[in-house]
Symmetry: C2
Subunit: 331 residues, 2 copies
């Protein structure tokens, strides 16, 4: 059966396009407290996995050994937009661990924040691997390898100890074991596939760290705290993730992922939220996730956050000609 329609795009009197998807919300006991659609199909969380990919960085002791601040922890969880606030911090961090951009396994990527992208084009500058939106995550991986004093080359391979540590953490938190199907992410690191239900359970564990061992619980607290403390380092200026985190006023850490994924961690209620748009559309993931946050009382009242819930569709003359809105299943 098809997943329900979660988001509608209107134009004039009609719905022009629709986005289907599925949502799972779990509590720390592993109970699914809300769901829509098929939450047992395998999906790749993509960059929504980053808060969990950052766990070995802290659990291994690497973060403490290299004196990482919350800013760097936030960058390890980031899909950043390539602004100087991101790239200068990643570059300094790389230097601190005795690495440089050439050690990063992610490829160069055009900067996502347009003013910076345009300024680079105007200066004739090419993007580097540090501009890759995942460069913080990769620097985190390298930091673990450095701390363990093992080869950094090949750290992005599925069988490298750093990636095995990620798989084990994900397997334990989600309760479905560490031998998960996987694919290669846009940044060349492995990305693990699991049901939305299982990923929501893993996120709920981060939201309710008292249910975890003290080592993992402390790592979870530190990651969630860093994401909430540095919304723009986790994403970028004006990004939906930053907007949601600001508007939730400390009550939610959120992370988007490519192909229409969104993850939420709500420490106050101990809930984990996982959402996937079937067709991979980011616009729909943002609006559907805003609707879920709103249902949970976590969307807040910032105008920028409310504007993601009900977003105008504008034409090239800046006239509003339609609307992006949650569909009935989300109201």
């Amino acid at each position: 059966m098809a997943n329900p329609i979660l988001v509608e795009i209107t134009r004039g009197p009609l719905v022009e396009s629709v986005h289907r998807g599925s949502v799972a919300i779990a509590n720390a006991e592993g109970e699914i407290v809300f769901s829509l659609g098929d939450i047992e199909a395998l999906t790749y969380p993509r960059s929504s996995l980053k808060p969990i990919q950052a766990l070995p960085l802290i659990e291994s002791g690497a973060a403490d050994a290299f004196g990482l601040s919350d800013e760097e922890i936030a960058l390890a969880c980031a899909s950043h937009t390539g602004e100087p606030m991101h790239t200068t911090r990643v570059s300094a961090w790389l230097e601190r661990i005795g690495c440089d951009a050439s050690d990063l396994a992610c490829g160069p990527q055009v900067v996502r924040y347009e003013p910076v992208r345009d300024a680079m084009i105007a200066r004739g500058e090419q993007p580097t691997r540090v501009h890759n939106n995942c460069s913080g995550k990769h620097t985190g991986f390298l930091t673990v390898a450095r701390h363990w004093d093992i080869a950094t080359k090949g750290y992005e391979h599925h069988d490298h100890p750093v990636q095995r540590a990620v798989a084990v953490a994900l397997g334990e938190l989600s309760g479905i074991g560490s031998e998960l199907p996987w694919g290669v992410d846009g940044c060349a690191a492995p990305n693990f596939a699991l049901p939305l239900s299982a990923f929501a359970r893993a996120l709920a564990k981060l939201a309710a760290p008292q249910s975890l061992s003290s080592q993992r619980g402390n790592a979870a607290r530190r990651i969630v705290h860093a994401m909430i403390a540095h919304p723009e380092l986790v994403s970028g200026t004006g990004h939906a993730c930053a907007t949601f985190i600001h508007s939730a006023r400390g009550r939610a850490a959120v992370k988007n992922g490519a192909e229409g994924y969104y993850a939420g961690i709500a420490p106050e209620t101990g809930l984990g939220i996982a959402l996937k748009i079937d067709d991979g559309a980011g616009r729909a993931a943002e609006t559907a996730f805003a609707a879920i946050l709103d249902k949970l009382g976590l969307l807040g009242n910032d105008a920028a956050a409310r504007a993601i819930l009900n977003a105008p569709v504008a034409n090239t003359r800046d006239a509003v000609v339609g609307e992006r809105r949650p569909a009935e299943a989300l109201i």
Copy 2:
């Protein structure tokens, strides 16, 4: 009931995202010879409507009165990528009818062809209304208004005689009358909504102009001929539309539209094709349309066209990590 899955995006061993949609293929007798999904729901063809929006330009005698060439007819049907081959011709055409960019109702739009966009950014140049992908269509509208010696101001309004002429042509060709629901397109012109079945019938009439009055038949021939003769003016360098038209070797004129629409006109067989991806994704529309062209023997053998049918998904290191491919319903 949900429309069938038409396109799959894979990553590693799994299907990561799917795109649903509907397709109608009609012949000149108005029979639906192939369909998938709901072809009676109302959809906006968006820019796939342009070949029909260009009919009044020719039927009114305006094209002849102003001595328009096939190049300009192709531009009237274009969603162009803002390259100099487009903008210099549109500017010269505007001048020929005693207008300039300020008469265009479409807004300025960032150029879609990246090398030109980047060169403009490097020079600090802002896009103008002539860069709008619809500037050729709008210049066509202005040309009709000039020929009729009526006010050009307001030509984009639904009740302006030029837009009424478009609605009447569409209503007659589709067989469902001219009082259609409508919304405002990205370029500020009205766009009319109609079932996929009805739009496929209208396109089949253009493919088999012998079924039309001699005036309309000649206009249809001229439009289809111009689109086939100038694939890059209808779209741009490397664009999927140009790729399809080249590879079909004169046997198909095709036109994409925003929000996952694609239209095809196949003169040899007298078929009209209309396709809409539910979620509006252009990537899916291209691959699904390639699959339909392939079914009809119209995809041809150009490598660029075959590469749209089965497209690699690459990561930032240019490694192939997945595939975009037609789903079972299209095989």
